[in-house]
Amino acid sequence: MTAQGIQAQGIQTNAERSALATIKRGLALTPEFRKGLAGTLALAVVATAGKIIVPIAVQQTIDTGLKGGSPDIPYITRAVLVCAAAVVLTALAAYIMNVRLYKATESSLATLRVRGFRHVHDLSVLTQNSERRGALVSRVTNDIDQISNFMQWGGLMIIVAFGQLFVATVLMFVYSWQLTLLVWACFVPLIIALPRFQRLLSRAYTVVRERTGDMLAAVSESVVGAAVIRAYASERRTAERIDKAVNANRSAQVRAQTIVGFVFPLTEIVAALAIAGIVLLGVRLGLSGEITQGELVAFLFLVTLFVSPLQTATEVLNEAQNAVAGWRRILGVIDTPPDVADPGDDGVELPRGPISVSFDDVHFSYPGGTPVLREITLEIPPRSRVAVVGETGSGKTTFAKLLTRLMDPVSGRVTVDGHDLRDVRFSSLRERIVMVPQDGFLFDGTLEENIRYGKPSATTEEIGLAMTELGLADWLEGLPAALDTPVGQRGESLSAGERQLVALARAYLADPDLLLLDEATSAVDPATEVRIARALEGVTRGRTAISIAHRLSTAENADEVLVFDAGRLVQRGPHAELVTQEGVYADLHASWVSAAHS
C-alpha cells in the first residue's frame, strides 16, 4: 500500500476474526438492532409457518376429502378456507416482521455508519494516511451498503430458511419418520459440503474485493491526477493501467460467479434424488399401511421447502460473505484505538491566556522509519514570536505536528503551560492551539462558509472584520462575489495564494492563543505576505505565534529563531545574534538575502 513505515499503525483488518465473532461484535455495538429482536423472530416463526400450509392442505384434501372415492366437498371447502385464512395471517406476520427488521437494521447501520465516520476523524493522521482515502470512505459507505443489501434480502432469507427447514422437518416427522430420515440422508451431505463451498467462495470473493480496491485506486488516479496526466500526456499509460485493473476485477467476479453457478443447482439434483427416494420408499411404506397417500404426496411438497432454503443458502452465502467483510471493515475502523487519544473529561482544561510550550528531550520517527527528530529540548515562553527554519526535510512540519498533537512523540514530552500535551482535553487543545497546515484545504462552498469553519458561531460582520484586520479587505472586494464566491472542491476555483489567504483567515477567526503557521503564506505574493505579517503581528500581540517559513523575512522579525537541521535543533536565538554566528542559519540567511534582494 503506502510506504512501509506507515503500515505499522494501520487500521485493523480483523481478518482473523471469525464471521460469527464479527457479527456478534457488530450486534453488540448496535442496540437498535437487538431491541425488539425477539418479537421480530416470533413473527418470523409465524411467517414461516405459512410455508407448510400447502402440504397440509394437500394431505388433508387427499386423505380426508377424497377418501372413499367421491370427494367430500364441504370438508375440502372448509379446509381450504381455513388454510386461506392462515395464508393471509402469515402474510400479515411477514409484513410486520419485514418492516420491523428493516427499521432495526437500517437504524443500527446508520448508527454504525456515523460512528465509523466519527472514528475515522478520531484516528491520528498517521493512521488515516495508512489507507487510501477512497478505501477509508468505502468503509462508511459501500461496506455499510453491502450489509444493508444483505439485511434487506439475505438476512431475511436466513431467518426464513432456518424456520422453513425446522417446520418442514417437524411436519415430516408427524407424517413418517422413515421418510424424514430418507430426506435428511439425501440433504445432509449437501449441508456438510456447504461450508466447503463457502470457503471456496470466500476465497474467490476476497480476490474480488482486492481487485475492486485496485480498480478504484486506478480510477481515482485518473480523476485526481487529471492535470498532471494531461500535462505529461500519460493518458494512454493511465488508460492501460485502468483497463488492466477493471479487467482483472471482472475476471475475478466471473470466477466467483462460476463457482456459485455450479454450487447452486446441486440442490435441485439432491432434491430430485429425495423425491425419487420418497416415491420408491413411500410406496413400500404405503403397501405396509404405515403412511397414507395424502401424507406421501404431502412429502413431495415438503421437499420443495428444503430446496429453496438450501438453494438460497449458497446465494445468501454469496451476499453474506460481502456483508461479513463489510462488518469486518467497519468494525476494523471502530476497533482501531486512536493512538493519539483524547483524555476526554479526565483531561486538563487549559485556561485562556498566552501559552508557553516546552519540548523535553523529544524524539520522533515515523512508524518503521528512521528518526526524524532527535533530542529536541526547547522552551517557548508565552507571548513570544518564534520562527522555525531549516532545510527541506529537516523536520519542521513534524515538529509542528507534535506541538499540535497530531502525533505523539516516540519519547520525551511536549508540555503546554506546564501540562503534558497528552493530558490536555482535545476540545480545549484545539481551541487554544491552531495550526495552518502547509496546503490549505478548503471545503466545497463559499468563501464565507470556509472562513466560518474556524468559528461556527461567527456572524458575517465578524468575518468581515477579521478580513479587515488581516488586511485582506481589498482583496475580498476585488472578487466577483466577495464573501459569496464559491471556492470549488478542495478550493480549486481559487488561485493557490488565495486559497492560503482563506485558510489563514479561517484559523485567525478561530482566535487561538497559539497560532502555528506552517508555510501558510508560501504561495502568497511578497507584498501581501508582508502586509499580512504586519497585521498578524498587531493582532497577535499578547499571544504566542510560531511560524515555519522558507522566506526568512519572518525570521528576521521574530523574537527567537529555532534552526532545525537533519532532525536536530542546532541553533536558537534572535535573528540578529544568529546571523553573526557561523552555522546553518547564517548560510540559510545568506542565500535568502541573495535570493530576495536585487
Binding site: 512501509q4 476523524h121 470512505v137 488516479e221 498532471v228 500526456a233 493518458e235 467476479q253 435441485e268 528576521e556
Partner: protein
C-alpha cells in the same frame, strides 16, 4: 404524475437492458436458452411428479401393488428433469454473470476513457466524489438487473409452458391459473411503481453520503487542527439519517409486496385444490392431474419473483445508467491536429491576444508576449493575477477563449496528440504525486534509464534524500506523496519535468516549499543544464527573477509591462512594490526601531 414518471423509468430501464442485450447478443442468447431449459424443466418436473403420482403412487394405494416398470420410469423422469434443470440453472447463472460483469467493466472503461479525454475545465466542474461513484457504484447499479434478467426470461418461458400444460390437463384448472398469473403480474407492476421513486431517492442519497465522506476525509487535517470533528459528524449524520429513512421507506414497500407476491401462488394452490376436488368428483381429472397442477403452483411461487427482482432493480439501474451516460455524453473534448513539434532545439513560444474565462468571469484579457528560443522569461504578478491560468494555456491543459498560443510558430491546437508533452514540461504550482514508486512518479510512462532518473533527481536537488529512502527509487511515496515533506514532493515534481529534457520548461512557483539554499542550487543547475531549453518561470523571489532575460508583469489578468528586471524596477510601480516588499519592510523596521529605542531611553 408519479405514475408517468415511473412508467418512463420502466421504459428507460427496458431500454438500458436492450443495450446490454444487443452488446452481448451471443452470450445473452445462450443465457436465455439455458434459462428456457430451466423454465421448461421446472414445469416438466411437476409433470413428472404428477405422472409418478398417477401411475406409481395411486395404483400402489388403490391396488396394493406397483409395476416395477412404472416405478423406474417415474424415477427416471424425475431425475432426468432435475438434471436438465440443474444444467439450465448453472448455465443461466454463469452466463448472466458474464454479461453483467462484462457490461460493468465496459462502462467503467468507457467512463474512465472519457475522464482522460475530457478537458480539465470539465473536471473542474465535477466533484471528485461524483466522478468516482460514476465509475464504480453507478456502473454497478446500471447493470445490476442483468443478473436476474435471463432468469426472468426463463420464468416467462416457464409461465407459458405451465399455461399450456394446464390447458392440456384441465380447462377449468387452467382458468384458475389464468386468473392467478395475471394477478401476480399486475401486483408486480404496482410493486415496481411504488418502489421506483423511493429506490431512486435512496440511490441518490447513497451518492451524497459518499460525497460528504470523501470531502470530509480529504480535509481531515483541517478538521483536526480546528477540532471540528463534531461539526463534520453532524453534517454526515444528517445525510446518513436521510438515507436511513429512505431505505426504510423502500423496506416498507418491499416488506408489503414480497409476502403478497408469495401468498398469491399459495392461494392459487388452495383454489386448485378446491376446484380440483370438484372436478375430480365429476371425473374430468384424476388425482395425478391435481397433484401436478398444485405442485406446479408451488414450484412457480419462488421463481416468479425473479420478475419482481428485475423490476425492483430497474429504477436504481436507470439512475446509475443516466449518471454514467451523462459522462459519456459530455462533449468538449480536445481536438488534436497533425502537426509535429519534433525538434531538439529550444522552442520559441508566442502568446497572442489570449483571453480566458472561468465560466463568466474572464481572468485573462488579451495577453500577448513572446519568449524567443533559448530565453528565460519570468512571469510575475500578485496573488490571483492569472499566472497559473496562463501557464495552463501554455501546455494546453485548457484552450483559450480567444487568441492563440504558438509553439515554434504552430498553434498548439494543430499539434498532434502527445506533441506538446514531448516538447513542453510543466511543473505545476500544486504538486501531485501518484501512489506509486519514486521512479514511477518521475518516469510517468516514459522509458527512462535509471541514470537519467538519477541525473534528473540530482538537478532537482533530490538525489540525497531519495538515496536515503529505504528502497531508493522503488520507495512508494503514498497517496499524494503523503510520506514526504512538502519540499521533497516539490523536488520530485521538478525531476519529473527535467528528466524529459523538454524544449520548453515551465515552472509555476515550483520552488515555494524549498529553502533558499536548495532553491539556489536548483536554479543554477537548471541554468547550466537548460541551455537546450526555453524557460518560463513564475516566481516572486529575486534570485529566480534575476536569472530571467526578461520579466513579464501580470496584474488582474493583463500584461502591465514587460522588460528586464531593472527596467521594470524603474518604470513599473506595481512590480517594484511587489518584488521589493521584503527590502522595504526591512528598511521600515530599521527606521522604526530607532525611535522605539529612543523612547525606551527617554522613559
Amino acid at each position: 404524475m408519479a405514475t408517468k414518471v415511473t412508467s418512463a423509468v420502466m421504459r428507460q430501464g427496458l431500454r438500458v437492458l436492450g443495450v446490454a442485450v444487443r452488446t452481448e447478443k451471443a452470450v445473452f442468447t445462450l443465457a436465455v436458452l439455458a434459462s428456457a431449459v430451466y423454465g421448461g424443466m421446472t414445469v416438466a418436473s411437476a409433470w413428472a411428479l404428477g405422472w409418478a403420482t398417477q401411475y406409481v403412487v395411486q395404483p400402489a394405494f388403490a391396488q396394493g401393488d406397483v409395476a416395477s416398470g412404472a416405478m423406474w420410469t417415474g424415477t427416471f423422469l424425475i431425475l432426468g428433469a432435475a438434471l436438465l434443470k440443474a444444467f439450465g440453472v448453472a448455465g443461466r447463472r454463469i452466463l448472466a454473470g458474464v454479461i453483467q460483469y462484462r457490461m460493468q467493466a465496459r462502462s467503467r472503461r468507457d467512463v474512465t476513457k472519457q475522464y482522460l479525454r475530457l478537458p480539465l475545465s470539465w473536471h473542474h466542474q465535477h466533484p471528485t466524489g461524483q466522478l468516482l461513484s460514476n465509475a464504480s457504484a453507478d456502473a454497478e447499479a446500471a447493470w445490476a438487473p442483468l443478473a436476474p434478467l435471463p432468469m426472468a426470461v426463463g420464468v416467462i418461458v416457464m409461465l407459458v409452458t405451465a399455461a399450456v400444460a394446464m390447458l392440456f390437463t384441465d380447462l377449468v384448472l387452467a382458468l384458475v391459473g389464468f386468473l392467478i398469473f395475471p394477478a401476480i403480474a399486475v401486483l408486480n407492476l404496482i410493486y415496481q411503481r411504488k418502489l421506483s421513486p423511493l429506490a431512486t431517492r435512496a440511490q441518490q442519497l447513497r451518492a451524497e453520503v459518499s460525497e460528504i465522506a470523501h470531502e470530509s476525509f480529504d480535509g481531515a487535517l483541517v478538521v483536526k487542527t480546528l477540532g471540528r470533528e463534531e461539526l463534520e459528524t453532524d453534517r454526515f449524520r444528517r445525510r446518513a439519517h436521510e438515507l436511513r429513512d429512505a431505505n426504510i421507506a423502500v423496506g416498507r414497500v418491499r416488506g408489503l409486496f414480497d409476502p403478497l407476491l408469495e401468498a398469491l401462488p399459495t392461494i392459487g394452490v388452495l383454489a386448485v385444490l378446491a376446484v380440483g376436488a370438484m372436478r375430480l368428483s365429476g371425473g374430468s381429472i384424476d388425482s395425478g392431474d391435481l397433484v401436478q397442477v398444485a405442485y406446479l403452483f408451488t414450484l412457480l411461487a419462488f421463481p416468479i419473483r425473479a420478475l419482481g427482482w428485475v423490476l425492483a432493480e430497474l429504477p436504481r439501474s436507470v439512475v446509475g445508467w443516466q449518471r454514467v451516460q451523462a459522462v459519456l455524453d459530455a462533449t468538449g473534448s480536445m481536438e488534436y491536429g497533425r502537426a509535429s513539434a519534433g525538434s531538439t532545439t529550444p522552442a520559441a513560444l508566442e502568446v497572442s491576444g489570449v483571453s480566458y474565462a472561468y465560466g463568466e468571469a474572464e481572468v485573462l484579457h488579451d495577453v500577448t508576449f513572446d519568449v524567443p528560443a533559448g530565453r528565460t522569461v519570468a512571469l510575475v504578478g500578485p496573488t490571483g493575477s492569472g499566472k497559473s491560468t496562463l501557464v495552463q494555456l501554455l501546455v494546453r491543459l485548457v484552450d483559450p477563449d480567444a487568441g492563440q498560443v504558438l509553439l515554434d510558430g504552430v498553434d498548439l491546437r494543430e499539434l498532434a496528440y502527445g506533441g506538446i508533452a514531448e516538447s513542453v514540461a510543466l511543473v505545476p504550482q500544486q504538486t501531485f504525486l501518484f501512489d506509486d514508486s519514486v521512479r514511477g512518479n518521475i518516469a510517468l510512462g516514459l522509458d527512462a534509464a535509471d541514470e537519467d532518473v538519477w541525473a534528473a533527481l540530482r538537478l532537482a536537488q533530490a538525489e540525497g534524500f531519495v538515496a536515503r529512502l529505504a528502497d531508493g527509487l522503488d520507495t512508494r511515496v503514498g497517496e499524494r506523496g503523503a510520506s514526504l515533506s512538502g519540499g521533497q514532493r516539490q523536488r520530485l515534481a521538478l525531476a519529473r519535468a527535467v528528466v524529459r529534457r523538454p524544449r520548453l520548461l515551465i515552472l509555476d512557483d515550483a520552488t515555494s516549499s524549498v529553502d533558499p539554499q536548495v532553491e539556489a542550487k536548483i536554479l543554477y543547475g537548471l541554468r547550466d543544464a537548460a541551455e537546450a531549453s526555453t524557460v518560463v518561470v513564475v516566481a516572486y523571489r529575486m534570485a529566480t527573477i534575476a536569472l530571467a532575460d526578461e520579466v513579464v508583469y501580470l496584474d488582474h489578468g493583463r500584461i502591465v509591462d514587460r522588460g528586464t528586471h531593472d527596467e521594470l524596477l524603474l518604470r513599473c510601480a506595481g512590480y517594484r512594490n511587489l518584488v521589493t516588499a521584503y527590502e522595504r519592510e526591512e528598511a521600515e523596521r530599521a527606521a522604526m526601531e530607532l525611535p522605539v529605542e529612543e523612547e525606551g531611553v527617554s522613559a
